[in-house]
Structures are given as C-alpha cells and as structure tokens.
Symmetry: C2
Subunit: 285 residues, 2 copies
C-alpha cells in the first residue's frame, strides 16, 4: 500500500458514527454537550473581546473545528452568534454578517447536519435579525482548511485529543490500546512525540488562517498536572476498559492476539505543562 492510500484510509476510518440511530454519535454525545456547557463562559468572554478588539467589523468568519453531526453541532456557533448580536445591540452597533464554517473529516456525516441548516437559519434570523451563512468545510484540521488571514474566531470542542495518526514505535505496547500502567516508557514517549508534532502543526496552520487580533477557544481532554506520573490517566479509564474487553475477546478466541497487539488509539491527553511547552516552542500564539 502506498503511503498516500494509507493516509486516506486513516482519514476514512477516524470519524464519528453518522445518522441519528441508537449507535450514532448524535444519540451518544451527552458528555460532549456537558463539556460545551461548562466551557460556555470562556467562549462568551472571548467572543465579546474579539468583537471589541476588532472594533465591531461588519463581517465575521467563524470556524468550528471537529463539528461532527447531530444536536451538538450548532450549539457553540449559536452561542457565538447570540453573543455577537447581544453585544452589538447593547453597544448600539450594527450586527455583522457572519460566515460559520463547520469543519470535520470528509467522511463525517455532513448530510445530517445540513438538513438542520434551514431551521437554524430561520431561528437565528428571528432571534437576532442577523444574517448568518453556514458552510461545511471537509478536511483534517492537521491540514490548511481556510484561506490566509480569513478567520476571526476559531472554536473546537472535544476534538483536539484526536491525533493525526497512530504514533510509530508502539510495538512494545502489547495488550494495551493506549498508555496504561503496564505500558513501556517508549509508548509514553511515542504518544507525547506525536502529540507535540500534531498540536504544533495545528497552531502553525491556524496562525496562517486567523486575522490579527482574532481569537481561538480550544477545549480538549487533558490530564491532571498534580500527578506527575506519566502513566497516570485520570480521564481515560475507557481505554483501559476497552483494552481489557479486547483481551477477553482474545482469550475467547474471537480476536487474534497479533491484531490486539497492533491496535492503538490515535489519542493523547496532555497535562498543562506538556501543552504549554508546545505552545511556547511553536511561538505563533
């Protein structure tokens, strides 16, 4: 298999389940909805500050990175639009026209999302008397998605813990699908290294796309800095459970052991220190 084919195979595989059925992301994303709700004050404050720092422009372009599909997709952009319009009313300024670009991988279920657009537009028009245009932007946020200096506000919730690919050199991380207490030191290093490269690339790309004085609000899974043990994972218990469940399937002969040994999640949960290092080394923000 050529490298390029392999690359697209990964892009095809890593996506949330589409539609609105029982097993869809749409019907199983209550946790992600709670996260959005908790981060709302930060989103609102940054939106207001962006508008004031840019001196109430008559046009705003917003990107929602890793939007997925279903009921959560429009939550953050609704909040951003409402915030902008309330602020404009309170400040006696004309509301801007707003382009909202919903991004996710090309295999994401955009059809389900787009069916809501007429209703979303109608509601936005009624509450805000604002003009808002919704677009889909298919592609990986580890590649350039938008033209130079075009975005005023970038938002991403519960998406950036997904890496661009499974790290290399995980041969010794047998029976684990992620970092756990039984992982070798090399596995931790492989994951950290991949995260550093990916997040650094993400920042470089976004710095090309965002206007001067624009704002970026990113929410993703991280681990507690107070515990300095590199193998301690306070929020990824699900991967341990998955490892054990797959181990059971191997024991029962339903899954081959080499397959489990070769399977690892493209996921990383940095602590604050690791995150700060990438941001400082990359230098754009």
């Amino acid at each position: 298999m050529k490298k390029s084919d392999d690359e697209y195979a990964f892009v095809k595989a890593l996506r949330m389940s589409g539609g609105v059925g029982a097993n869809s992301y749409s019907a199983n994303s209550l946790l992600q909805r709670r996260v959005l709700s908790m981060a709302k004050p930060v989103l609102v404050t940054n939106t207001e500050e962006m508008m004031m720092n840019l001196n109430f422009p008559n046009y705003i372009k917003v990107a929602e990175l890793g939007c997925s599909s279903g009921q959560n997709t429009f939550l953050a952009i609704s909040e951003i639009i409402n915030t902008i319009n309330v602020l404009c009313q309170n400040s006696n300024q004309n509301p801007p026209e707003i382009d909202c670009c919903l991004n996710d991988l090309p295999e994401n279920d955009f059809n389900t999302t787009f069916k809501f657009v007429p209703f979303f537009n109608k509601e936005i028009m009624m509450t805000n008397q604002a003009s808002c245009f919704v677009y889909g932007a298919p592609g990986s946020f580890y590649s350039r998605l938008f033209s130079r200096n075009s975005l005023h506000f970038i938002h991403s919730s519960y998406a950036l813990h997904w890496l661009s690919k499974v790290p290399e050199n995980l041969e010794n991380n047998k029976e684990n699908v992620y970092i756990s207490n039984s992982s070798p030191q090399s596995a931790y290093k492989a994951y950290l290294n991949q995260f550093q490269r990916d997040f650094s690339m993400f920042l470089t790309l976004r710095s090309e796309e965002i206007v001067s004085n624009g704002r970026m609000v990113l929410t993703f899974i991280g681990r507690n800095t107070l515990n300095s043990d590199q193998f301690y994972r306070d929020c990824c218990h699900v991967w341990t459970l998955l490892s054990k469940s797959l181990g059971d399937l191997v024991f029962e002969g339903l899954v081959s052991k080499p397959k489990l040994d070769a399977f690892n999640m493209p996921f990383y949960d940095p602590n604050e220190q690791e995150l700060k290092e990438v941001i400082q080394n990359e230098g754009s923000f």
Copy 2:
C-alpha cells in the same frame, strides 16, 4: 400545514438522487456533462477576464450553484482553477488562494461529494501548486447564500431552469405536468410569472453577493426564440412523455386522476426575449 412547513417540504422534495447507484444522479448525468463541456469556452474566457479586470488579486472566492453530487460536481471548478493558474503562470503573477463553495439544497448528497475532496485537493496541488479550499454551502439559490461583496466568480450549470416552487393557478392544466399544446393560456402565464419572479430574485441576491467587476456564467435550458408560439417546447419533450406515461397509469387505475391533475413540474425554459426582459427590469447586471 403551516406555510413554513410547506416551504421546507418542497426544499426536501426537490433534489437529485444521491449516492452512486444505478438510479443516482451521479450515474445518469452524461447530458449535464456534455452541457458543461459545450459551455467551457465561455467559462474560460470569463474566468480570464475576471482575473485581469480584478488585477490578479491574491484571493478568489468562487461559487458553484446547484452543484449536485457525483462526477460532474468538480468539473467546472477544476476548469476555473486551472484557467486561473495557467493565466497567472503566463502573466508571471502569483496564483491566488481560491475558496470554492459548492452550493445545492440542504437535502443534496454532500457526503458523496465531500469524499472526493481529499483527492481533488491533492490533484489540484500537484498540477497547479495552488491552494484551493472546498466548502459546501447548503441552501436554495433563491435565498442569500454568501456574505455581502464576497464572491468573485459565480457559476451555475443546468440548475436555473428549476423554479423555487410550483406556480400557482395551474388548476386548469389538467393531465399535463408542464406546458404543452393542450395547456390553457393561463398555465403559460403562471409559469412565465413564476420564472420572472424567481430569476429576478436570483439576480438581486447575487448582485448583493458579488464583488464589483466579478463575473457570472449561467447555463440553463431555454427554448428557441425563432418559434414565437408560447406553447412550443423544443427541449422539454421529456415532460410530454412523463404526462402521457402518468396518463396511462391513471387509465390503468394505478394513479388517481386528481393526483395527476394536481401534479406540475417546478420548471421553466425561457426564450431569449423573456430572459432579456427580466435582466433589464431587475437592473443589477
């Protein structure tokens, strides 16, 4: 049924068949491909003139209205991008970054289209060393789709003969699904009136979205001006065949007569004179 529900019901109904199966638009759009091919010289000339009139800007936003899904979707924008890049090379100018907005109704199968985006981007990058970003823009082109003064080039092929809705006052057009020799004069007037309102609205909306000195290339079905008979249709034989087929089903008792009597296509094929009148009366172009 409330008016607004009715409106969305229509938007849901009027779309091409998605996917890539035997009955899909994708597998049955050879004619539309030929039309694109025949109109290519006009598309190329207008793209070149737009670039020169705008003095080779470093950013271009293109809209493809009524893009549908499948193999035809990327044909026109590929042509536009290639034309821009060849012109820039020949003129020793830096190629612009290009935003390509693919528009169709929200129920269009964008998922099938978006799966081709990574391959399209890769090919464009290789042939042109250009940066091109593809977006989906779900919505009716009889409503505002883009922010004010943002588009440099608007293209639409084989889409604008579709009206925004079935005309009113077609009660006497029984047994015909469109204008035919047996239609009353009122049916012709109802269709012409709906076309005039729709196309006029289309021009007003696009004039708000396009930049000064931008270009618009529209290809759609029209009828021969040489024959002044309002009921003469040189390119809509398919609707006569459909009327007759449905008549047969009524005769066989498989479809009820009131249903056929109430069924009319939201379609109009203006002649040159009718088209010129709308453009002149609307006045933006």
